[in-house]
C-alpha cells in the first residue's frame, strides 16, 4: 500500500532530536497528573460540549489561497487560477471547487491567518498534531493520545483509531496511548474490517477466554522489570485491549461500513477519503474517542491547480461536507469536535517549477477548519493580509487552535502532566482558547 509522500520524505521527526533523551530524560512511562482536568471550567462557554472528536489531517500542506482564503484582487504573481464562490453564509466565500462545502458553511468555522514558522513537513505535522512547537528534549502527544488517556473508551472499542495511519505518536504519554492504525482505507460499496478483529471460523469466544487466562498466568517474565518502561506497560495494555475487542462484536460492527445504506454512503463521495470520513462517523457513534483521517497529496510544488481541481478538492469537498451533514443527521454534530488542518499553507508567490506553476511550503499563513461541539459554524475567525502572506492582525497559532480543540472536548489546555522526575509539562504550552469560536 502506498501513502502520499511529501517532498522531504516522511518520518523525519527526529531531525530535531539530536542528542536525544538522556538518562533521566522524559521518556515517562509513569507520570502523575497534577490536577484533575478542568473541573473549574465546567459551565464556561463551549467547554466540554464535545465528547468525541474527528481529526482530519491534510498532509503535504494545502494551499490556503486556493481553498478557504482566496484573494481575488491580489496581483497575478500570487492570485492563482480559482475563483471564489458564495457560501450559504452571507459574506463568506471559498474556492469554486468546494461547492458542497459552500452549501454547509454554516456548520463549520474557518480560521484564516493561522501562522507558525516550521516549514518542514515532519516538524510542521508534529506541531499541528500536538499543539506544541516541537522541542528537542520532549515529544508531545498527539490529540488522540491525550484523549485516550483522559477520555478512554470502553475496553472493547479502541479509544483512538487512525485511518489509515497516525500523523503523530503518543510522545511522552507512552505507547500505551498510541492509536489503532487500520493500515488500510475503506472502499465504497465494499465490506470493511480491520484484519484480526473478527474471530476466525472454528474458534469460539469461550476458547479465546480460556487462552487469555492461560496467557495471563504465563506472561510474567517482565513483571520484575515493571519500571523498564512504557514498552512493557504498553504491550500489556494492547494485549488486554486486543482481547476485549476480539471477543466483542462492537468494534467489528463499527468498522463495517457496508452496514450503511448506499444513499447514505454516497453523501461522502465514493473515494476512500470520503468513505474514511463515513467510517469516522461510525466510529464516533460507537464510542471511539478520537478518529483521525488523512487525505494526503497536498505538497503541490508543481501543477498546483490541476492537482487541486481534479483530485484533492473534490475529494475533500465530498468527504467533509458528507461528514458534517451525516453527523447532523445522526444528531452527533453537537457532541463531536472536528479539526481539519494541514501542516502549513503554501507560498502566495507562484513558483515556476512547472509550466503551470506551483506553490511551496509556507507556514506563516495557513487555514484550519473547526466544527462541532460548542463551535459556532458559519463564521470566519482571523484574517490574512492582502496577499495572504501573513495574518493581517495578530495571527492565530497552532497552539491556540489546539487549546480551543481541547477546550471544546472539556480538557483544560493548561493542565499539567508530570515527568518521572517531577518536571511539570503543560499540555498546550503556549496556547490560548479562541473565545470567538464558541461565542
Amino acid at each position: 500500500m502506498r501513502f502520499h509522500k511529501t517532498c522531504d520524505g516522511h518520518s523525519r521527526r527526529d531531525m530535531l532530536k539530536a542528542g536525544c533523551l538522556g538518562l533521566g530524560g522524559l521518556t515517562m512511562s509513569q507520570y502523575a497528573k497534577l490536577a484533575e482536568a478542568g473541573q473549574e471550567n465546567v459551565g464556561k462557554t463551549g467547554f466540554g460540549r464535545a465528547k468525541r472528536a474527528i481529526f482530519i489531517e491534510l498532509p503535504g500542506g494545502p494551499s490556503h489561497m486556493d481553498t478557504f482564503d482566496l484573494k481575488p484582487d491580489a496581483p497575478d504573481t500570487v492570485r492563482g487560477k480559482f475563483k471564489p464562490i458564495a457560501t450559504n453564509v452571507a459574506g463568506i466565500q471559498i474556492s469554486e471547487h468546494l461547492p458542497k462545502l459552500a452549501a454547509v458553511t454554516d456548520k463549520f468555522a474557518i480560521l484564516r491567518g493561522v501562522s507558525h514558522t516550521l516549514a518542514a513537513h515532519q516538524l510542521g505535522r508534529e506541531y499541528v498534531n500536538t499543539g506544541s512547537r516541537p522541542i528537542p528534549s520532549l515529544e508531545y502527544p498527539c490529540f488522540g493520545s491525550v484523549l485516550s488517556k483522559e477520555r478512554p473508551a470502553d475496553d472493547d472499542i479502541p479509544s483512538q483509531v487512525a485511518v489509515p495511519k497516525a500523523g503523530h505518536g503518543p510522545g511522552f504519554l507512552g505507547i500505551r496511548y498510541a492509536s489503532l492504525e487500520t493500515n488500510s482505507t475503506p472502499q465504497f460499496g465494499q465490506p470493511y474490517a480491520v484484519r484480526g478483529l473478527s474471530l476466525a471460523a472454528g474458534i469460539g469466544v469461550e476458547e479465546v477466554q480460556q487462552r487469555q487466562q492461560l496467557l495471563r498466568k504465563l506472561d510474567r517474565r517482565f513483571a520484575e522489570f515493571e519500571s523498564a518502561g512504557s514498552l512493557i506497560e504498553g504491550l500489556d495494555r494492547f494485549g488486554e485491549q486486543a482481547y476485549s475487542m476480539i471477543t466483542s462484536p462492537r468494534a467489528r460492527k463499527a468498522f463495517d461500513i457496508s452496514q450503511e445504506s448506499d444513499s447514505f454512503s454516497k453523501l461522502f463521495g465514493e473515494d476512500p477519503f470520503g468513505q474514511s470520513c463515513m467510517l469516522a462517523l461510525r466510529l464516533v457513534e460507537s464510542g471511539v474517542t478520537l478518529t483521525s483521517v488523512q487525505l494526503g497529496g497536498w505538497d503541490t510544488h508543481q501543477d498546483n491547480w490541476t492537482k487541486l481541481s481534479t483530485g484533492l478538492l473534490p475529494k475533500l469537498d465530498a468527504g467533509l461536507s458528507g461528514l458534517l451533514a451525516g453527523l447532523e443527521l445522526r444528531g452527533l454534530l453537537d457532541s463531536t469536535a472536528i479539526l481539519v488542518t494541514g501542516e502549513f499553507g503554501r507560498t502566495p508567490k507562484i513558483n515556476d517549477r512547472s509550466a503551470e506553476g506551483g506553490r511551496d511550503h509556507y507556514p506563516r499563513c495557513m487555514f484550519m477548519l473547526m466544527a462541532g461541539g460548542g463551535v459556532r459554524g458559519g463564521q470566519v475567525i482571523g484574517e490574512s493580509d492582502d496577499t495572504a502572506s501573513g495574518p493581517r492582525h495578530e495571527g492565530i497559532s497552532p497552539d491556540d487552535v489546539a487549546a480551543s480543540f481541547y477546550w471544546n472536548l472539556g480538557i483544560d489546555p493548561a493542565m499539567e502532566y508530570h515527568s518521572e522526575t517531577g518536571r511539570p509539562i503543560t499540555l498546550v504550552r503556549d496556547g490560548h482558547v479562541i473565545e470567538k469560536l464558541f461565542a
Binding site: 520532549l138 489503532l180 492504525e181 478483529l197 487462552r211 492461560l214
Partner: protein, 941 residues
C-alpha cells in the same frame, strides 16, 4: 577537512561547575582554570562587548566575523524572521547565516535604506532593531549598546563585504570542554575563542548561538551560561560561523570516579566502564545462557535458535561456549540473509523505485538482495561490497553490449539472481527513480554511506553541522555525469541496442507499455532483450566547456578551459568531471582518515545489537549530535578499518563484550540509563524476525531445520515479500513496521509496538492457520501423544475477504429463503431467475475460494450456507496422557518459542491447563498460542 575540535586547554578532563567535594581531587574548578589560561588570553582579542563598549574604537568590524554572527545572535536571520524563505518586510537573509555574498547584497540593496553610509543612524539595520522605526520583530538591542556600536562601526567603515574569499575558521575553542555538575541549579559560563586561518584569535563568547540537546539536564542561556538540572548526561552546543561544537554536560547518579582505562578488559567494556564511572553508574551483570543464546541468535541471524541448539547450549559446560556460538551463528546462511536485508535497508533496495529498470517486474530488488547476500555469505570486506555499488558498471570487463544483454536476460529469468550475484558491480543502486537528480543522489549517498543527513544544506547552512549550501551544491555536482536511466545506453552501444530492438520488431520510438510488454514476453520466450546501462557522461561536460572556451576566444577573450568540477563533502580540492568521479569518491570512502564511512557502518551494526546507536539516530551523524561514547565508536571504526573492513570481526568484537551481554535487570544506578549501555534495554524485535519466529515455532523440528537451511518462506531473506501485496506475509511485515526503504531514513523501520500488532498475534488468520497447520508442530505433537486432532480448517482468507464471503452467503441464503416462501407454481417460474442471481454470487465466491453447494441442495437445506463452525470435531479424548510425555511436550513448547526451559510454576500451570481441558489437542494449541503471545516472545531480553 574542516573539522572543529574542542580543545582541551589544561589537559584536565573535567571542569567542575561548583563546589565539588575537595576530596574528589580530579576536578579543577572553573576559576582556577581561567587563571591558568591568562597567558594565552593576552594574545586573544578581547570580546566585542569590551572593544565596542563606548563606540570610540577605530576598529572596523568584519562582516563574516562580527556582523553576520551578531545578526544571528539578535535573531535577525532566524526562520521566523528574515531567515524565512520569503524574507520578512522584503528583507531576506540566509537562514543561519553563512551565505555572506547574498546577505551582504541583501543589506546593501539599493533604495532600501537598510544600510546608509552617508546618514549612518538612519540605516534601517540600526533603526529597526532598536525599534526606532516600527519593527515587527520588536526591539532586539539598545541604542548605544555594544551590539549597536558594532553595526554602526561597520557601516561607518564603509559597510564592506568580507571579500571574495570566505575566511576560514581554523578552530573554535570552547572552555570548559566538558562540564561535571554535582547538584541541580549550579551555573557555569562558557568561554569561546575563535581562531582564524589568518592567525588572529578573538573571544567570541557573545557572538555565538547556544542550544542544549536536553534542557531538562542542562539549560543554556543565550549568553552561554549553563545551568544544571536533572541527573543525566547531554551536550550543550555552541555555533559560530560554520563551526558547531558540542560540550558534554554530566550530572552523575552517584559519586563519580575518574578511572584509568582498564587495559585487561575487553576494549569496548573498558571504554563503556570509563564513561559509566563518570556517571556513577554500576552496570548490570552479564545475562544467563538462555538469554544470551536467544539474543545472539536473533541479533546475528534474525532467527530463533533451533530446539537442539537450545538444549545442547544449555547443557554445554565449557567456558568458551558463547564465543563458539557466535562463530557458529556467523557461519549460518541466516546470517548472510539477515544482514543482506539490513544492507538492503540502508542502500535503499526498493522494488517500486526500480519499477521500470528491468524488462520484468519484481526482479530488480531480488537481484539487488541476492548480490548483497552472496557477498555476506563469503564475508567479502565491507569496503569491497560498497565499491561494487559505488563504482558499479553495467558491463563487466571485456563484455560487449550483446553479451551483456544476453547475461542480463538470463539473470532476469527465474533463478537468475545467482548469476547476477556473480557480477562485479551492482548498478541498480544508481537506477532508482528517486535517485536520478544530482541533489537526490547527494542526499541518498550521504545517508547510505556516510550516515549523514545533508538535506538541510540543500537550501541553507546546516543548523547542526558544518555544511553550507555551497558544500551541498559542490557535492551534488559530482553526480551529474552519471547516467542510469532505464532505457539509456552509452554512445558505443546505441547501434547494438537499435539492432536488438529491431530484431524484436521494435524501434527507438517504442515506449511505455508496448515496449515493456514485448520485452517481457520476448524474455520469457528465451530471447535476449536490450537492457539500459549505466554510463558516465563526462565527454559531454568537457565538450561544453571546450565550446564555451572557443566562443570566448572568438570574442577575443583569453580563457582557460573551464571544466566543471564537483567536490567531495568537506574536501577543498574539486574533482574535474572529465572522468568518472566515483573512483575518487570510493577512494575517499575507504581511506583510513574518512571521518564517516567506517563509523556509519559500525554505528548501524551497533544499533542492531543494542537497539540504539552510539550516535543516535543512526543516520544523523552531525557535530551537534556527538556519540554517547566517542571512545567506543572511534575504537571500533579504527579497528574495523585495520581489520580490512572485516564484518565478521566487527560482529565478534561487539558480541563478545560484556556490554553486549548485560542482563536487562536494572539496579538503582542504571534504572534510568538509556544511552550508556549499562544494561540491556528490551526492545521489540524487527518485523521480519517476528514473522519468522512465529513460523519456526509452529513448525515441526524436521521442517524447521530444513527451513533454516533453505530459508524458504522466511522474511529475513524473502525480500520480494516486502513489496508484493499478494503474499500474506506482507501484511504482518507491514503491521510490525518493516522498512519501506523510501525516504533515506533509518526511521523507515519501526520497532514500536501497537494495538494492531497485539490483535495480529492473538487473532489473525495467519496465526490461527499456523497453529492449526496439519503438518505443523501442534498437530504432530498431538498425534505423537495420541490426542485426537480436530478436523477444523482455518479459513484461508484474511478477514476482509471472509466478511465478504459471509455477506455473499447471507445474500444467497436470503434469496433462497424468499424463494422457498413462494407458492410452488411461482417457484417454477422463479427458478431461472434465482439460478442467474446465484450464478453471480457463486462466481464471486469462487474468486474468494469458496464453492457453493448445488442449487437443489441449497433449496432443500439453506442452512448449508451457515459457516462451518459446526463441523468442528467434538470427539473427546479418552486417553489420559502420560504426565512425563506431557511435561516433555510443554518443555518443547517453551524451547521452541522462548528458547528456554519452563520454570517449575510455569510447568505446573501448563500441565494443569492441559489436564483440565476436555479436548487435549485444543489445549496444546492454546498453550502454543499463549506462548506466542507472551511479551517475552517478541521482546528482546
Amino acid at each position: 577537512m574542516k573539522r572543529f575540535c574542542v580543545r582541551s586547554v589544561c589537559g584536565a578532563a573535567f571542569v567542575a561547575a561548583t563546589c565539588l567535594s575537595p576530596t574528589s581531587g580530579y576536578a579543577a574548578d572553573a576559576s582556577s582554570r581561567t587563571n591558568n589560561s591568562t597567558a594565552a588570553i593576552s594574545e586573544i582579542g578581547a570580546p566585542a562587548s569590551e572593544r565596542f563598549a563606548d563606540g570610540a574604537t577605530s576598529e572596523i568590524p568584519n562582516f563574516q566575523k562580527h556582523v553576520t554572527p551578531l545578526l544571528g545572535r539578535l535573531g535577525c536571520n532566524g526562520r521566523a524572521c528574515h531567515g524565512s524563505f520569503q524574507g520578512r518586510g522584503d528583507f531576506r537573509l540566509s537562514l543561519f547565516g553563512y551565505d555572506f555574498k547574498a546577505d551582504h547584497e541583501a543589506m546593501m540593496a539599493e533604495n532600501t535604506g537598510r544600510v546608509d553610509t552617508e546618514d549612518i543612524e538612519e540605516s534601517l539595520v540600526l533603526a529597526k532593531p532598536i525599534d526606532a522605526e516600527l519593527h515587527e520583530g520588536g526591539k532586539r538591542m539598545d541604542q548605544g549598546s555594544w551590539q549597536y556600536n558594532v553595526l554602526r562601526a561597520w557601516i561607518a567603515g564603509g559597510a564592506k563585504a568580507t571579500g571574495s574569499d570566505v575566511l576560514v575558521l581554523e578552530e573554535l575553542e570552547v572552555t570548559p570542554s566538558e562540564i561535571l555538575f554535582d547538584a541541580a541549579d549550579s551555573k557555569i559560563e562558557l568561554k569561546v575563542i575563535a581562531r582564524w586561518s589568518d592567525g588572529t584569535a578573538e573571544n567570541v563568547t557573545e557572538l555565538c548561538r547556544y542550544t542544549s540537546n536536553d534542557d531538562a539536564i542542562a539549560a543554556i542561556t543565550e549568553s552561554g551560561q549553563v545551568t544544571s538540572g536533572e541527573i543525566g548526561d547531554t551536550h550543550v552546543v555552541v555555533s559560530y560561523d560554520n563551526a558547531v561544537v558540542p560540550v558534554a554536560v554530566i550530572r552523575p547518579v552517584s559519586t563519580p570516579k575518574i578511572t584509568q582505562l582498564d587495559s585487561s578488559a575487553h576494549r569496548i567494556d573498558a571504554h563503556i566502564q570509563q564513561k559509566l564511572d563518570k556517571l556513577g553508574i554500576t552496570p548490570s551483570p552479564v545475562c544467563n545462557d538462555s538469554d544470551f543464546l536467544r539474543r545472539a541468535s536473533l541479533d546475528i541471524t534474525g532467527t530463533l535458535p533451533r530446539t537442539e541448539l537450545v538444549r545442547s547450549f544449555l547443557a554445554d559446560t565449557s567456558t568458551d561456549k558463547r564465543e563458539r556460538l557466535v562463530d557458529q551463528l556467523l557461519d549460518q546462511p541466516a546470517y548472510a540473509a539477515w544482514w543482506a536485508t539490513r544492507l538492503s535497508d540502508w542502500t535503499g533496495n526498493n522494488e517500486e523505485e526500480l519499477n521500470n529498470v528491468l524488462p520484468v517486474r519484481n526482479v530488480a530488488s531480488k537481484l539487488w538482495y541476492e548480490w548483497l547476500r552472496q557477498r555476506l555469505l563469503q564475508n567479502v570486506a565491507y569496503d569491497d561490497i560498497i565499491e561494487g555499488i559505488v563504482i558499479a558498471k553495467s558491463r563487466e570487463e571485456g563484455e560487449d553490449y550483446g553479451t551483456y544483454c544476453e547475461n542480463m536476460s538470463d539473470a532476469c529469468r527465474p533463478g537468475g539472481e545467482t548469476q547476477f550475484a556473480q557480477r562485479e558491480g551492482m548498478p541498480l543502486y544508481w537506477s532508482r527513480r528517486n535517485f536520478r537528480l544530482p541533489e537526490e543522489r547527494a542526499i541518498g549517498f550521504a545517508y547510505t554511506f556516510l550516515g549523514v543527513r545533508i538535506e538541510c544544506a540543500q537550501c541553507h547552512k546546516h543548523p547542526f553541522d558544518q555544511w553550507s549550501k555551497d558544500d551541498f551544491d559542490a557535492f551534488s555536482k559530482l553526480f551529474v555525469p552519471i547516467r542510469a536511466n532505464a532505457g539509456a545506453v552509452g554512445k558505443d552501444s546505441k547501434e547494438d541496442r537499435e539492432k536488438m530492438l529491431a530484431s524484436l520488431g521494435l524501434n527507438e520510438k517504442t515506449k511505455g507499455n508496448v515496449l515493456r510488454k514485448t520485452l517481457t514476453q520476448s524474455l520469457e520466450k528465451g530471447k535476449t532483450v536490450p537492457f539500459g546501462e549505466l554510463y558516465v557522461d563526462s565527454a559531454n561536460a568537457v565538450q561544453r566547456a571546450k565550446s564555451q572556451a572557443a566562443q570566448m576566444k572568438k570574442k577575443g577573450k583569453k580563457v582557460e578551459l573551464n571544466i566543471p568540477t564537483g567536490k567531495i563533502l568537506g574536501q577543498e580540492i574539486g574533482i574535474e568531471l572529465d572522468r568518472d568521479p566515483r573512483i575518487e569518491l570510493m577512494a575517499w570512502l575507504r581511506s583510513a582518515d574518512n571521518p564517516y564511512f567506517a563509523k556509519a557502518l559500525v554505528n548501524r551494526v551497533w544499533a542492531n545489537y543494542f537497539g540504539r546507536g552510539l550516535v543516535d539516530p543512526t543516520d544523523d551523524m552531525n557535530l551537534a549530535n556527538p556519540p554517547s561514547n566517542e571512545a567506543v565508536l572511534d575504537y571500533l571504526a579504527t579497528e574495523f578499518i585495520a581489520h580490512d573492513f572485516d564484518l565478521k570481526w566487527l560482529h565478534r568484537e561487539i558480541t563478545s563484550s560484556d556490554t553486549y551481554q548485560r542482563s536487562a535487570e536494572a539496579n538503582d544506578t542504571n534504572r534510568l540509563d538509556r544511552r550508556n549501555f549499562s544494561r540491556h534495554i528490551p526492545r521489540r524485535y524487527p518485523a521480519e524476525m517476528v514473522h519468522d519466529a512465529v513460523l519456526l515455532a509452529t513448525m515441526t523440528d524436521a521442517t524447521a531445520n530444513e527451513t533454516t537451511k533453505t530459508l524458504e518462506g522466511m522474511a529475513i531473506t524473502d525480500a520480494l515479500s516486502l513489496y508484493g501485496d499478494t503474499k500474506s506475509s506482507a501484511f504482518a511485515l507491514q503491521v510490525f513496521g518493516r522498512s519501506g526503504r523510501e525516504s533515506n531514513c533509518d526511521c523507515d523501520r519501526s520497532d514500536s509496538p501497537s494495538l494492531l500488532q497485539s490483535v495480529y498475534l492473538r487473532n489473525d488468520v495467519d496465526i490461527h492457520r499456523r497453529l492449526a497447520d496439519r503438518s505443523g508442530w501442534v498437530n504432530q505433537t498431538c498425534r505423537d501423544l495420541g490426542f485426537a486432532v480436530s478436523n477444523q480448517a482455518i479459513d484461508e482468507k484474511p478477514s476482509a475477504d471472509q466478511a465478504k464471503v459471509e455477506r455473499f452467503k447471507q445474500m444467497v441464503k436470503s434469496r433462497i429463503v424468499e424463494f422457498n416462501k413462494l407458492p410452488q407454481k411461482r417457484q417454477d417460474q422463479a427458478r431461472t431467475k434465482l439460478k442467474d442471481q446465484i450464478k453471480i454470487y457463486s462466481k464471486r465466491l469462487a474468486e474468494a475460494g469458496v464453492t457453493l453447494p448445488p442449487l437443489d441442495a441449497l433449496v432443500k437445506n439453506p442452512s448449508l450456507l451457515e459457516s462451518d463452525n459446526n463441523s468442528k470435531d467434538v470427539e473427546k479424548d479418552a486417553s489420559v496422557a502420560d504426565s512425563k510425555l506431557l511435561t516433555a511436550m510443554i518443555e518443547d513448547a517453551y524451547v521452541r518459542t522462548l528458547s528456554r526451559m519452563p520454570q517449575q510454576d510455569e510447568l505446573q500451570t501448563a500441565l494443569a491447563f492441559v489436564n483440565d481441558s476436555e479436548k487435549k489437542s485444543d489445549a496444546v494449541q492454546s498453550l502454543m498460542w499463549a506462548l506466542l503471545n507472551t511479551k517475552e516472545f517478541i521482546i528482546s531480553h
